[in-house]
Amino acid sequence: MRKEEMLKILFRNKLSILGLSIIIALVLIAILAPILAPYPEQALGEPNLKERLQPPSWKHPFGTDHLGRDVLSRVIYGTRTSLVIGFSVVALALLIGVPLGLIAGYFGGKMDLAVMRITDIFLAFPPLLLALLIATTLGRGMVNAILALAISWWPWYTRLARGMAISVKERPYVEAAKAMGIADWKIMLRHILPNSISPVIVQATMDMGSAILEAAALSFLGLGVQPPTPDWGLMVSEGKDYFLNYWWYPVFPGLAIFITVIAFNLLGDAVREVIDPRLRRRFL
């Protein structure tokens, strides 16, 4: 399919445009955070105890937290953390999951059996529980949270890539490549991967939102990003104790998570429509 056609399909759906616009806005906010945030130093953790728990005002549109820091600035900086986590988790999971899935599907037999039983072990756990377990083992911190999520995430991509590889490897162009004596790894790279990747891309786009959500959950439970790093999950966690009297503290970071997750889901839908209108949604 040509590029113009893809763009046409993408812009046909208003929700797709909305999702895409939000994502672009989030990326811009993340990049321009030092310019956009009214109090960058507070965003990075500097307390301002004179103005503790102020309600939203012109000076602090989202109010301030229990250390007097501007919530808006921290939410803006939190965009960076969230996007980095979401992207890293999905990228890492793809990097582990897709090659394994292609190998399992393409070679089949014992290789397939081995890889699939390993994914079964991972998939047997409820997703967040496994990530929690790994994060606890690895210790607190953002990098460990990313690793924990990626390790619990890759089997999904393995399954998806394997299924596609199995169907693609039966196509005559793959057999033709074998008949020409093309090496297996080149067949996988040139013929299997490009023709199997579409549903994986769709899934990965949607998973960005889920990864951000789960990372927030880890932070909320104290296993992810550590204070004073600005992180939405962490802010919700810290803010929950103040929720009844100072609602703005947990609500604004919570809204940020909500909007971001929705935006990635909308974008995922749009990407699916562009790549393959017949593709079915995978139920999680």
């Binding site: 196509r171 005559p172 162009y173 057999e175 033709a176 490549a177 074998k178 008949a179 020409m180 004596g181 093309i182 090496a183 080149k186 040139r190 013929h191 490009p194 023709n195």
Partner: protein, 319 residues
């Protein structure tokens, strides 16, 4: 020259979690034939007769279960993976569905260039253009993707790719079955002229007897994994001896509204499941000359009824 000796390809049928083999599907069961250089051997039969599997097993795209295949007196079936790769360029295959035999994500140029790059050829661009011209396409097609071409054009690209490495032997697996009749003729003519120019040897697999008649020098008729009749084109088409061959031949439509000679032996019944083939002569349940006690008791031998004309029937020459 291609020599196939007692070729067998059985597929295991597995069941249950532990993939226990419950029985064998004998797709190709003891097939032997020879193709001389520059000749076309037509392999005909209904779907499920094992003709495509035969073609693929000869190229070792499937590992044979038994038997030997010789290519220019080299035993292909005994080669290691590395040795096989060295000989691969000499033997290529063309498929039925022109679209699915081309990777939709690659341009025509890259598709044809792939084998050239793999074997470290030089002047790839010139060679690709030369090949495009040889199959009746031009430079403008090189930048396109398969979905921008017609079925016939795609089949030409597949032929160009197969020719890229200067093969000697081509397996043509129903190369025209998926094409419109007018395009069929063009592709057949192309294959015919390429054979004459380059001295190619063809194994032409088809269920379309009319097409086989046009191109083949020798013909083999397959039924449930066995060759049941084999001979020169004239021997098989003008003097068919096996009841199955006669049945197939009588099903060719005759382009003459006045000819109503179809009654003699229309195709009856369907090919039985290869998982559970009939005992004795595998054709006996459909055979109009079936003799109880003979045909269902013993498998017939391949008998040479005349020079080069072999028939696998208890009553060959008598019917």
């Amino acid at each position: 020259m291609i020599r196939v000796e007692h070729l067998k390809k059985y597929f295991p049928v597995t069941q249950g979690f532990l993939r226990k083999k419950v029985l064998w599907l004998k797709a190709v069961d003891d097939v032997s034939f020879e193709i001389q250089d520059g000749e076309t051997f037509g392999l005909v039969g209904e779907s499920g007769s094992g003709k495509s599997t035969t073609g693929r097993t000869i190229l070792r795209l499937y590992e044979p279960t038994g038997g030997k295949v010789y290519f220019n007196n080299i035993e292909i079936t005994a080669l290691s993976k590395e040795e096989l790769k060295r000989i691969r360029p000499k033997m290529q295959i063309i498929y039925q569905d022109p679209y699915s035999s081309l990777n939709p994500r690659l341009t025509i140029f890259d598709i044809i260039a792939e084998p050239l790059r793999e074997y470290g050829h030089e002047n790839i661009e010139d060679r690709v253009l030369e090949l495009l011209e040889a199959v009746g396409l031009s430079e403008e097609h090189a930048k396109k993707y398969p979905d921008e071409l017609s079925g016939g054009q795609c089949q030409r690209v597949a032929i160009a790719r197969a020719l890229a490495l200067d093969p000697e032997f081509l397996v043509l697996d129903e190369p025209t079955s998926a094409l419109d009749v007018s395009v069929q003729a063009q592709v057949l003519n192309l294959l015919d002229s390429l054979q004459k120019e380059m001295g190619l040897t063809y194994l032409f697999i088809s269920h379309d007897l009319g097409v086989v008649r046009y191109l083949a020098d020798k013909v083999g008729v397959m039924y449930l994994g066995n060759l049941v009749e084999m001979g020169t084109l004239d021997q098989v088409f003008d003097n068919p001896m096996h009841p199955y061959t006669r049945m197939l031949l009588s099903s060719i439509p005759i382009p003459d509204p006045k000819a109503r000679s179809l009654k003699k032996g229309v195709v009856i019944g369907e090919i039985p499941s290869p998982l559970n083939p009939p005992k004795g002569c595998k054709f006996h349940p459909r055979c109009p000359f079936y003799k109880p006690g003979v045909c269902d008791a013993k498998e017939p031998e391949m008998i040479e009824v005349e020079r080069g004309h072999l028939v696998k029937c208890h009553f060959a020459g008598e019917l």
